[in-house]
């Protein structure tokens, strides 16, 4: 019964979106984590999604595959530098380095992840209802 694999597919989608949500939260939480050198500064992270192949029993169908997180990449955007000689982490020139997290972008990311998560839940709910109606066929 192919309706069952919707649970698997939407499940992988939900888990991928929750990874994205986690990473976004981490970015937002560290948006102001200052440090004294470029190397030690937190960089914004973003997950990259890909197609999950050769896994689960649904792989027999090439057009039906789940989502998988290929990896989390760090943003290469320039870090923010701020002149703050009184800051305990300031370097010799009196500068502190701040992460390259774009808070507005992260908020948009979070809303997008939340919407996609909801879409997957909706698909699961519909599949569940249809399965239940199929089970009660002829009663």
């Amino acid at each position: 019964m192919s309706l069952f694999s919707i649970f698997d597919i939407a499940g992988t989608g939900m888990s991928a979106q929750s990874v994205r949500m986690n990473v976004t939260t981490s970015n937002l939480a560290n948006a102001e984590s200052a440090s004294s050198s470029v190397e030690k500064t937190y960089r914004a992270r973003h997950p990259v999604f890909g197609v999950l192949m050769n896994n689960l029993d649904m792989s027999r169908d090439k057009d039906v595959a789940g989502v998988r997180v290929l990896g989390v990449v760090e943003s290469q955007a320039p870090l923010r530098m701020q002149y703050a000689p009184d800051h305990p982490l300031a370097d010799e020139q009196g500068n502190i380095h701040l992460p390259n997290v774009n808070v507005v972008e992260e908020m948009a990311n979070m809303i997008s992840a939340s919407r996609s998560y909801q879409n997957n839940i909706e698909a699961i709910t519909t599949a569940k209802q249809l399965l239940q109606r199929t089970l009660s066929l002829g009663q």
Binding site: M1, S2, L3, S5, I6, I9, A10, T12, G13, A16, Q17, R20, V48, F49, G50, V51, M58, D61, D63, V64, A65, G66, V67, S112, A113, R115, S116, N119, N120, E122, A123, T126, A127, Q129, L130, R133, T134, L137, G138
Partner: protein, 135 residues
């Protein structure tokens, strides 16, 4: 009139199976709404159903020699999933339009329920025929 139970349900079991299959494909599209380079897919329901129905009902050519070719419809790939033509492709190569996919998903769910209702009707009339009582 003798009832052939194989044909008693008509087109509906095939339609139901295809609806479930299409549902799966649409759910995959929804799950991949944010996957770069993912291309949204769909099933051409009408042609696949016509094909499945033809295979079920019509007289098939029998291959009596190993060099005989199969019926043309089966190998033509008409039952394959097709890529959706995007209205507005994203810059990352993704062609899933969540709104369209959701609309199609909803419509497909309703059609699935319609098939279920038809099947229920058939079952009920068969039961009435078997029991013979008019309540």
């Amino acid at each position: 009139v003798p009832i052939n139970l194989d044909n008693a349900f008509g087109i509906h079991p095939t339609a139901l199976a295809l609806r479930a299959k299409r549902m799966e494909v649409l759910a995959t599209n929804l799950a991949h709404a944010d996957t770069p380079n993912y291309k949204a897919m769909d099933i051409d329901f009408k042609s696949v159903l016509a094909q499945a129905n033809a295979e079920n009902s019509s007289v098939m050519l029998r291959a009596t020699h190993q060099n005989h070719l199969g019926p043309s419809g089966r190998d033509s790939g008409a039952g394959e999933s097709l890529y959706r033509i995007p209205y507005q492709p994203a810059i990352d190569g993704n062609t899933v339009d969540t709104q369209i996919e959701q609309a199609e998903f909803g419509r497909n769910a309703i059609s699935y329920q319609a098939s279920l209702t038809f099947l229920n009707g058939r079952i009920r009339s068969l039961l009435t025929a078997i029991k013979g009582d008019s309540q």
